[in-house]
Amino acid sequence: MTTMNPGVAENPAPFLDLTRSGSSKASRVKETIIEGILLLAGVSSVIITIGIVIVLLRETIPFFAKQVEEIALPAMHADGPYTVSAIHKKPGDTLNKRDVLLEITAANGEVTKVVTHFDGVVRNINATVGEVIDAAKFSTSDQIRLLSAAEQRETEVQARIPLADVTWSVGFVDFFGDTQWTPAFADKRFGIWALIAGTVVTTLVAIFVAVPVGTISAIWLSEYCNASFREIIKPILELLSAVPTVVYGYFALLAITPVLQTIGGWFGIDVPGFNMLSAGLVMGVMIIPYVASLSEDAMRSVPMQLREGSYAMGATRVQTATKVILPAAFSGVTAAYILGIARAIGETMIVAIAAGQMPNFTANPKEGGQTLTAFIVGMSKGDTPHDSLEYRTIFVCGLVLLIMTLFFNVTGYMIRKRYREAY
């Protein structure tokens, strides 16, 4: 276009209206503006990605930073008058897990040891020996803290009487070196492996279903099925992944689990109402179309000559499919598996509904467990205050999840790209 305009301007032909070159200048400006807008839209994906990373990191960094925890009189004791009978730590002292911070004595002489659940440093002590604590005087509205149980939407009001402030932080050792995940308990543990175990077990069950079924379906579609039938059956098969996952969750919890319980009953195996097996099985069905469709694409892009070569040797269709087509489409099929795995890792509703909400460091799919995704959903359902540690955990889990899926997605993408170039 730019090469044409000078030509128009130089042309001395009398019928050429000069205003037209003006309008073409205007249209060039318009073109530039449009291109700018389109560029912005194109770049939006990068901005979104950066946004995701920033949002996740913004909460993850404070999660691992030093924080101040208020040690309060345990809620169950918040009724009667108590006396602070001994103080074992002073400000600046280091605390280890289960160290006794101070002791309080009830009116009936019963002694309660106030212990810490984490390694930290005492910041200040808000009590003195001999001080009498009367819960009643603290039960004004500004001393009331809302605690919420993640399971119920109901909020309970409980008085907490501050005794000391302790600074501490969640270390990488606490995060990666533990198998207990209890961020909402008094004894907070942040062993991410408990959630990763749930994710891995459900994903493995799903893959165990989707890989054989998906691969064999793909072989059948690519090598056995005639083209017109494939046109019909493939979109129908793809409907399997169009069903909303919450509906699959319903199906897993209320249809598959009872069936598993019945079958388990025949063999004397007790299957709990929440189990990772039913969630994984249904998730597997959901990702069959991903595996089948992508594998079939890969198989069909294997050149016809290879098929002919194999058939010319007297091979049957199974032999051609398994001995020639599958190895030739290996990278494409692998990519299909990997993308299926990524899909299973990121799946939320099925596992949140059917696998339960109790983190469980186990490899046994029969048990209930909680995945990274189910934890995020479960935690966000409650009324967690937006600046609390519990709230940050969901972003931390999100980051771990993102890294896991990103790894599989990038690998799958690269492998797919490579096989596309191969033929």
Binding site: M304, L306, M313, G314
Partner: protein, 282 residues
Amino acid sequence: MTTTTTDTAPAAKSSKPAYTPTPAVKINDPLKASVNKFNFYYGNGFHALQDISMPIAEYKVTALIGPSGCGKSTLLRSFNRMHDLYAKNKYVGDITLMPENINLVGPELDPIEIRMRVSMVFQKPNPFPKSIFENVAFGLRVRGESNASYVNERVETALRGAALWDEVKDKLDHSGMALSGGQQQRLCIARALATDPEILLFDEPTAALDPISTAKVEELVIELKKTVTIIIVTHNMQQGARIADYTAFMYLGKLIEFDETNKIFTTPSNPMTEQYLTGRFG
């Protein structure tokens, strides 16, 4: 999906008036197969081969020549029922396989059985994405052969037979796709030989090869005819003249002339054959 190429045929037609096929001559050699009034229709209804009748002599090389689209590849692929891979293709007439006189293209006969007895080497080398050894052993594996020493022995024999042994004996576990084009084609020949076929079909085996590789493959074909009946489609008339014992000239789906190679290339009885051989069309 169909491999027929009809694009050049009309051009040939315009330069050539009506033609009458000369019936195939009788031959004295023992027969391995004979084609009798054989017709072939593609799935789209195209009548690709019309009333072909010709003998195939045992332990000889029979060459099929003719311009593009004349049906020579279609005929060759009928010998091991490759057309069965695509829906709606139809065979009419028969191709009789000796010694037991069975109809190769009969619906009652399993194409897999035919393909185990009649092997094929394609125009473009198509080694499988497997090791050299597994490529050659493929036919044996397909037959369920599990005796390792037997397989080893057959693979070596086949590779020697395909004049490839010396080049690859140290790298049998390398991928077959890493070989050069000529080596790949000889690998495909070895693959076809390993199962001891009765007929070996070559579909323009040297079309994608350089002259040196071509020469090697040609030598190989001449060597191989001691043990196997060979049918070869070639685009290159000189190649036909060099290696074939019998030659069939086909044009627009008909067999124009079949005779001994010497006869065809020196004194063809059909004027059309002469015109083709002298380069006036095709």
